[in-house]
């Protein structure tokens, strides 16, 4: 009897809000903040683009800074026909590419050893690697001056005022972080995978090259992009250690050659900054999917 009574009765409907309406509101709020965020971060590059298309006269005139009355490519033509700018660009490119290669060669192997080949002190070393990343570079360039002087005295090699010195310097910033990213990435690869390779007859080096590097490719690409960005945008070290125009890299070059005394050539500065920002932007665009996959690796299973 009791069963029959339950079966014939209508189920009660307690009042709740609509699930889809809740979701719509959540989406509206997220769009609102995302748009705010996008405006905030896109404003400077857009301002750079607008200014780079103006003449010096228009820039200094008291008109609407967000409007171009007489668009011109003169800034681009001037900058690209200057030999300096191309030299800075070349220096930056060579330095960045060499730094990426050096960093990846060191940090992939180091991370593999630290993450996988359990040896005495490996955990402490892994922490140590990360701690070195925490030391601000501003604290390092005075000791580096002393070291350069010592190298010059003892070995007779002048490291000051050469663009290639940056190839030795930047890895001190990039290797710890790239190694740290890679340790995390390698640690997320199941242990059985290298054990299987070990039983299959692979040496440690073969395990690294044939199993770990292909499997960890997203992580390696993430580390590569990071390294390139750091090397490309590095400002403090080249400012401190290079002075001759032919030895400058792009970020320092633009500032030192386009600001003469108190005369700011805003049009060309903006053009140079915009052109300088292009290579990392292009690399990001191509490798974005890998980059995101790399940074979120191991967050969830499969």
């Amino acid at each position: 009897m009791a069963n029959a009574a339950i079966a014939t009765g209508e189920p009660t409907r307690p009042k709740y809000g609509s699930m889809s309406r809740d979701r719509t509101w959540a989406l509206r709020w997220s769009y609102f903040f995302l748009v705010l965020f996008a405006i905030f971060f896109l404003m400077p590059p857009i301002y750079m683009l607008i200014t780079s298309l103006k003449t010096s006269a228009e820039i200094s005139a008291a008109t609407n800074p967000w409007w171009i009355s007489n668009p011109t490519l003169q800034n681009y033509i001037d900058l690209l026909s200057q030999n300096h700018f191309l030299v800075f660009f070349r220096n930056s490119a060579i330095v960045s590419i060499c730094v990426v290669i050096m960093t990846m060669l060191i940090s992939v192997v180091a991370a593999f050893a630290l993450a996988r080949m359990k040896f005495w002190g490996s955990a402490t070393l892994a922490t140590g690697v990360f701690l070195t990343y925490l030391i601000p570079e501003t604290l390092l360039f005075i000791p580096l001056f002393k070291m350069f002087a010592w190298v010059n005295e003892v070995l007779g090699i002048q490291l000051m005022n050469h663009w290639w010195t940056m190839i030795i310097l930047y890895p001190t910033l990039t290797v710890p972080f790239a190694t740290w990213i890679m340790i995390g990435y390698f640690a997320s690869i199941p242990k059985e995978l290298d054990e299987a390779a070990l039983i299959d007859g692979a040496t440690w080096m073969q395990t690294l090259t044939k199993i770990f590097i292909p499997v960890a490719l997203p992580g390696i690409i993430a580390a590569t992009i990071f390294t390139f960005t750091v090397a490309w945008a590095q400002f403090l070290y080249p400012l401190a250690f290079t002075t001759s125009t032919s030895e400058l890299v792009l970020p320092v070059g633009i500032i030192t050659t386009l600001i003469k005394g108190d005369v700011f050539n805003w049009g060309q500065i903006m053009t140079g900054a915009l052109l300088g920002a292009a290579p990392p932007l292009i690399i990001y665009a191509f490798l974005m999917d890998y980059y995101i996959a790399g940074l979120t690796a191991g967050a969830t299973k499969g």
Binding site: L193, A196, A197, L198, I199, D200, Q206, K210, I211
Partner: protein, 366 residues
């Protein structure tokens, strides 16, 4: 010939003894299953045979050669892991041929062996798929294929079926047995599932607390367990253990469970059990299938007793009944048509011809 011999093998992690000196002889072509609860040292033992763990003491020999310091790749073994450990960036063919390629085996030999193994395992049409495009069962097959193509002296399986669902597990179990019958390679298989151990093994090694409790054929372990641990571990539902006393009356022995329950001991066991009359800490071990309903039209005998049933679990082909004796829950297996019902009294019969008498202080079966 590939016997595997373990002599006084010890594994110590810092201060913890994971394996406490075990001896084991595995003969050529034998299928050995190491079984035990988690933390009993079975996986550690397997990994020591594989060379993935260094041994802290004793000797391990494969095919008559001590391999204590031989790296895994030179031990001529193949291992199948619980999570398959397939190389995710390689397709099935590359996964299976990886080991042979590293050994610089000629291409045509590799091709022939991979195709042959694929045929044995029925995965020929999967050869150019990536692991992530395969189901759990298919991945397990590929992992086995990777082991087979290398034609090793010994196969090692580390809980290979634990990640599969129940139905597939039963299917793959049969598959593994078939493969072993085809390739006849010495096999060491680790599992915590005693059913898997019973169904697959030529001999089962029951481990507990880093020691071997008993080695024997599945039937031996089931019918003649050496210890209380083995008696309780093998068989599902587990053996019932009831505190008891052994009494002598008129030349015959009786097991007394409490004031109201006592059963005569079968005559053929009298001589064996007589020394233990009056001994404290005795336990009667009786499997659920040896507690059944009394059949109608049979003579009432001294093994019958009435019991209030607590819980009834119909299983289809049989019904499990649970009741309480001496404060312990006891399980019996009765015919589904016997009319068992919870909170009702039922007439049951204990078949003591398969009883075990256990000294609870030593854990030994007497």
């Amino acid at each position: 010939m590939a016997q595997v011999t373990l002599r006084k093998v010890v594994k110590k992690y810092d201060e913890v003894l994971a394996v406490r000196g075990i001896d084991l002889d595995i003969s050529d072509k034998e299928f050995i299953v190491l079984v035990g609860p988690s933390g009993c040292g079975k996986s550690t033992t397997l990994r020591m045979i594989a060379g993935l763990e260094e041994i802290s003491g004793g000797d391990i020999a494969i095919g008559g050669h001590v391999v204590n310091d031989v790296p895994p790749k030179d031990r001529d073994i193949a291992m199948v892991f619980q999570n398959y450990a397939l190389y995710p960036h390689m397709n099935v063919y590359e996964n299976m041929s990886f080991g042979l390629k590293l050994k610089k085996t000629p291409k045509d030999v590799i091709d022939q062996r991979v195709k042959q193994a694929a045929q044995i395992l029925d995965i020929t049409e999967l050869l150019d798929r990536k692991p992530k495009q395969l189901s759990g069962g298919q991945r397990q097959r590929v992992a086995m294929g990777r082991a087979i193509v290398r034609d090793p002296k010994v196969f090692l399986f580390d809980e290979p079926l634990s990640n599969l669902d129940a139905k597939l597990r039963v299917q793959m179990r049969t598959e593994i047995k078939k493969v072993h019958q085809k390739v006849r390679t010495t096999t060491v298989y680790v599992t915590h599932d005693q059913v898997e151990a019973m169904t697959l093994a030529d001999r089962v090694v029951v481990m507990n607390g880093g020691l071997i409790e008993q080695v024997g054929s599945p039937n031996d372990l089931y019918h003649s367990p050496a210890t209380k641990f083995v008696a309780g571990f093998i068989g599902s539902p587990a053996m019932n253990f009831i505190t008891c006393q052994l009494e002598q009356a008129a030349g015959a022995l009786r097991v007394r469970l409490n004031d109201t329950l006592s059963f005569p001991v079968p005559a053929d066991r009298t001589a064996r059990y007589t020394p233990h009359v009056g001994q404290p800490n005795l336990m009667l071990g009786l499997r659920p299938e040896h507690i059944m309903e009394t059949r109608p039209h049979t003579e009432p005998n001294q093994h019958d007793f009435d019991m209030l049933i607590d819980v009834v679990e119909p299983m289809g082909m049989e019904t499990l009944v649970y009741f309480t004796v001496n404060g312990r829950e006891i399980c019996g297996r009765v015919n589904p048509n016997a009319g068992a019902a919870a909170a009702q009294s039922m007439k049951l019969r204990a078949d003591l011809s398969n009883m075990h008498l256990i000294d609870d202080s030593t854990g030994k079966v007497l």
